[in-house]
């Protein structure tokens, strides 16, 4: 790890602390002396600039991830209702798995030899977009036109929220702002009005509560926490859900497929283990250990001095938590920690996924959606299994494309964000 005094002497007393050892990072992220901060996340803390300020205001400030203390706890408890076990089963069986069939059916193209070609990036994004829309309560996505319009927002908004990590930050931010306008005017506001109308009908006795699904916009419409009285907070909460549900989910599935294709090429005898959900879960978790959260680092602000063993963190310091590097900590995961191995032995007290879902009060809300309540029944696992049952392999005639990341000297930071992932399905057919 390193401490970098990024400001000139006499002007800024704070520094940036980079941490990549898993045990230290675990301790720091769990510390009550460390908080999320929108300015830190937007790379606007030590070196404020206009782009950073835009990023804070438009995407970061006030969402669940950036809330603190009691406000965070109240909001987290409220939103946790969206990922309780009965909700997880509902999402998997009634939203995600049906969406898999529907979108694959629409997008797969049959080849002369009876196989099917499909861009996995596109179809996985659509599946999770539909899921995001349902968990938020976004209307108008039943049609292909509506979904295409929402989809046009997805990657630019992910870029806008994470602009600090990308090359061409101005271009990424501007694209994110344009997409944000579309999302808010064409989806968020009309859907919020719809949520309000549904709730009014429940109050009037025209609808029963059971007929109105639990979603984020209902919580915002009822101002279930006082923060939601501010319209911008609601918008940014929806954006956070939008990005967190689509971007990282899609990348997790594609990266797991990417790694498993390679694993099965080297270990063909393991191909049948795709039927073993524990194997699938281990594969996805191993992928997350190596690549999640699909940006090089998370950020935190030290609000007090932090006792973190060999790392010196003072109040006011900006912390860069190199999650994927920590996931490759050879002291924890062995000398082959940079390699994908779904059969890796994991030390006691360590998660197989490393810190991919972070830890501490801001641990990812979606963890149990991904893995399931028992760690091996989650939606994403079933999707990966389904793709391999369909005989997935890379398309030899087309290139995989990724977004260009900001330069780093450390190859561990080069985490691919797939924008195109062409594949062939050898054992699949469209459902009539």
């Amino acid at each position: 790890m390193a401490s970098d005094s990024s400001a000139q002497a006499g002007q800024c007393p704070f520094s940036r602390v980079e941490i990549e050892k898993l045990d230290v990072l675990q301790k720091v992220l769990r510390s009550k002396a460390v908080e999320e901060d929108a300015n830190v996340s937007a790379d606007n803390y030590l070196h404020p600039d206009e782009l950073g300020a835009i990023n804070v205001k438009a995407f970061q400030e006030g969402n669940l991830a950036m809330s603190k203390g009691d406000a965070h706890r109240k909001r987290r408890r409220l939103l946790n209702q969206l990922v309780r076990p009965e909700q997880l089963v509902h999402y998997r069986e009634e939203i995600i798995l049906p969406a898999v069939q529907r979108w694959m059916g629409r997008k797969a193209e049959e080849n002369a030899d009876g196989t099917f070609s499909i861009d996995l990036a596109g179809v996985v994004e659509l599946i999770f977009l539909e899921f995001a829309a349902k968990i938020i309560g976004i209307q108008g996505v039943e049609s292909e036109e509506g979904m295409a319009r929402l989809r046009g927002c997805a990657l630019p908004i992910f870029g806008g929220l994470s602009a600090a990590h990308f090359e061409n930050r101005e271009e990424v931010t501007n694209a994110g702002l344009e997409a944000r306008k579309v999302f808010v005017e064409e989806f968020y506001k009309p859907s919020l009005e719809f949520a309000k109308s549904q709730l009014a009908r429940v109050e009037a006795g025209d609808l029963s509560e059971d007929e109105v699904p639990l979603n984020l916009l209902h919580m915002i419409a009822t101002e279930a926490v006082e923060d939601y009285a501010d319209e911008e907070t609601g918008v940014k909460e929806a954006i956070l859900f939008f990005v967190a549900t689509t971007g990282t989910s899609a990348q997790a599935v594609m990266s797991t497929v990417d790694y498993l294709i390679g694993w099965f090429e080297e270990h063909p005898e393991d191909r049948q283990r795709i039927e073993d959900m524990e194997f699938v879960s281990n594969a996805l978790q191993e992928t997350l250990r190596l690549r999640a959260p699909f940006i090089p680092y998370l950020t935190r602000l030290a609000v007090d001095d932090v006792d973190a063993d060999e790392v010196d963190i003072k109040a006011g310091d900006e912390i860069h938590a190199y999650i994927a590097r920590a996931g490759r900590d050879s002291n924890v995961f062995g000398n082959d920690s940079n390699q994908f191995n779904p059969d890796r032995a994991i030390p006691e007290g360590i998660n197989r996924y490393g810190l991919a879902f972070a830890t501490g009060p801001h641990q990812c809300l979606g963890l149990r959606t991904v893995l399931g309540n028992d760690g091996k029944s989650g939606s994403h696992l079933r999707m990966v299994q389904g793709l391999f049952r369909a005989g997935i392999r890379r398309d030899p005639d087309q290139q995989i494309r990724t977004l260009p990341l900001k330069h780093s000297d450390d190859p561990r930071d080069q985490i691919p964000t797939f924008v195109s992932f062409p594949v062939i399905l050898d054992n699949w057919s469209k459902v009539a």
Binding site: T359, D374, G375
Partner: protein, 110 residues
Amino acid sequence: MSRVEVLKASDLPVGEMTKIEAAGRTICVAHLEEHGFRAIDDRCTHEDESLSEGYLCDESVECPMHSSRFSFLTGEVTGVPAWIPVRTYPVEVEGDSVFLIVEESKEASA
């Protein structure tokens, strides 16, 4: 070890939980439908949260913050993301009094 009366059985209906302090420990006591009164440490081993403020799910409690689940019968983790079990405490009921057998703790467990 000490035997401490922590509550009246009639004050905790079936299907409910409560937080009590006993012998320097913060403990979650539940009244389970099939297994009567059971007690575990109130502090979620995943993060520093109070389990008694969570949800009672059959014989498990679900943490309100990150949804880790623990069995009241064994203390074992029954739902991710926690991986460390919670401590359980023997419970005795005499008449309307519920007792826990606890070892004095130097600091509260939650």
